[in-house]
Amino acid sequence: MRRLWKGNYALVEGAIAGGCEAYFGYPITPQNEVTEYMSVRMRELGRVFLQAESELAAINMVFGAALTGKRVMTTSSSPGISLMQEGISYLVGCELPCVVVNVQRGGPGLGNIQGAQGDYFQAVKGGGHGDYKLFVLAPSTVQEMYEMTKKAFNIAFKYRNPVMILTDGVLGQMMEPAEIEESVKCKGQSVREIEDLGWNLTGCKGRVPRFIRSLLMGEGELEDHNYKLQEKFLKMKEDLDYEEEGAEDADVILIGYGLCARINFEVYTTLRKKGLKIGYLRPKTLYPFPERRIRELARRKKKFLVVEMSCGQMVEDVKLSVNGESEVYFYGRPGGGVPEVEMIINKIEEIIR
């Protein structure tokens, strides 16, 4: 049924529909609705909810539940996600699937509690120690908060890797119409019986004991493990997702993710009506990134304007994709500032001139 939903609530329903069996979280604004609503929904469904003593504990509880092959999730906002980085690195090292949601707020430090996009680098470049990638999804609507969270669990299990949903406080707090199936009403429904996935720890009944570790001290062991992980990160391109409009005949293409893509879309429709050849491109996955498509457009000498709620992070990936074939411009506001349509239009006029 289509009705008004808040982004953070839609996210919870997405997790439940995606088969999330356990949730561990810690309060932090602007994602508190997730933890609160989870505490109600998971309990009424007979699933696991636990409020951890810290984000550090939460991500390690996720690690524990993930070891058993269960579908598990945590959510937080920027400072909390920073605290989780060590645990996320271990999850990747041990090849454990899970979903981590960052409802971003302004930084650095304690920052503020407004929506922001300052954690792009942290999300797509690894974030913790070691050579690694997360699969990163960037919802742009309340509907996508539901859809992407639902889908995230399957991706996490497909690659045996954490999936991050990178959203922000505005999307988390906003309400808009969405089609959300509050599917699971009765207790225990869609919670899987424990199954042997060939790697998970369930107690060694009827098989040889297993161990899961990321400490690889043998000669060449860690190097080999890293090559194997890198192959997996490359393979993630199978699930690359982006949308575009008007890019084929555009002179300038607007690129943004999440909330910025909504603003970009308004700029795009406004300027198209005026007859300007503007294009719109939105990465729905930030890793993998639509680098091939961007390069293809750059070779046809289309210019790019990247819009972000930061001082410029994704713009670096656009530049790497463009690889000097065309020009890349940037407009952004940090610390919780939201880019304005008029400012973007001014910037485009400057570029065209």
């Binding site: 939460a58 369930t202 107690g203 004991p209 297993r210 899961i212």
Partner: protein, 241 residues
């Protein structure tokens, strides 16, 4: 008497130093698990520290956790698989320093997990630095003239957690001689029984030898453990059994 290797131990040599207590504690843990018939239900967490390679020696499912986080990892496992037996094996740095918060809160929640806490008064794996449990006056590589009050007092974990309502069983033992080793094994069995009977959080603290970290001979290390009892009295601090 025939010396048999417990089923819960793999028949392989370990990497521990001569005179170290870990081999003894591994063995009595394995015997206790065998005697309770729970090997196939155990999921254990190895710490960051000398026992990190526990999974090479333990013949049951084992994972490794980040430094200090085994109680949180154990919580995650136990909450999704409440009928499994979840055991963490942690040193003093892991449990009492970097993992103090996870210890306190898992104990306070009454998580039905068992912590086997090896207190050898130093960071063994990194070369013998001061641990939160190093007694005053003891020399380590970061307290070369002996620990002084400025470095903090030795942290008494059993005394710290015993009054938390979530704690079901808490005992301090030592492993320097056969009599105490047998008592230590009984303590492990009690702690595991506490978990099996869902009576809350259980912890056994072992005063154990680290001749390498302490720069003493294995024989002298036994004397050091005896002296440690002046600071860390052994005994049952709490039992809901």
């Amino acid at each position: 008497m025939k010396f048999k290797i417990p089923e819960s131990l793999k028949p392989v040599p370990n990497h521990y130093c001569p005179g170290c207590g870990h081999g003894i504690i591994h063995r009595i843990m394995a015997e206790a698990i065998d005697e309770l018939g729970i090997r196939e239900k155990v999921i254990a967490i190895a710490p960051v520290g000398c026992a990190v390679f526990g999974y090479f020696y333990w013949n049951f499912d084992t994972a490794e956790a980040a430094h200090g986080r085994p109680p949180a990892v154990a919580t995650g496992i136990k909450r999704v698989l409440p009928d499994r037996i979840v055991i963490t094996y942690q040193g003093d740095g892991d449990l009492a320093a970097i993992g103090g918060n996870e210890l306190l809160h898992s104990a306070n929640r009454g998580e039905n997990i068992t912590i086997l806490f090896v207190n050898n008064a130093c960071y063994g794996m990194t070369g013998g630095q001061m641990a939160p449990t190093t007694p005053l006056g003891y020399r380590t590589t970061t307290t070369v003239n002996g620990r002084v009050i400025d470095d903090g007092y030795p942290l008494k974990v059993c005394e710290l957690i015993k009054d938390l309502e979530g704690v079901g069983y808490c005992e301090r033992v030592s492993v320097e001689d056969p009599r105490n080793i047998m008592k230590a094994k009984k303590a492990i069995k009690n702690a595991l029984k506490c978990q099996i009977e869902k009576k809350g959080f259980s912890l056994v603290e072992f005063l154990s030898m680290c001749p390498t970290g302490w720069r003493v001979s294995p024989v002298e290390a036994i004397e050091v453990v005896k002296r440690m009892k002046e600071v860390f009295p052994i005994g049952v601090f709490k039992s809901k059994l």
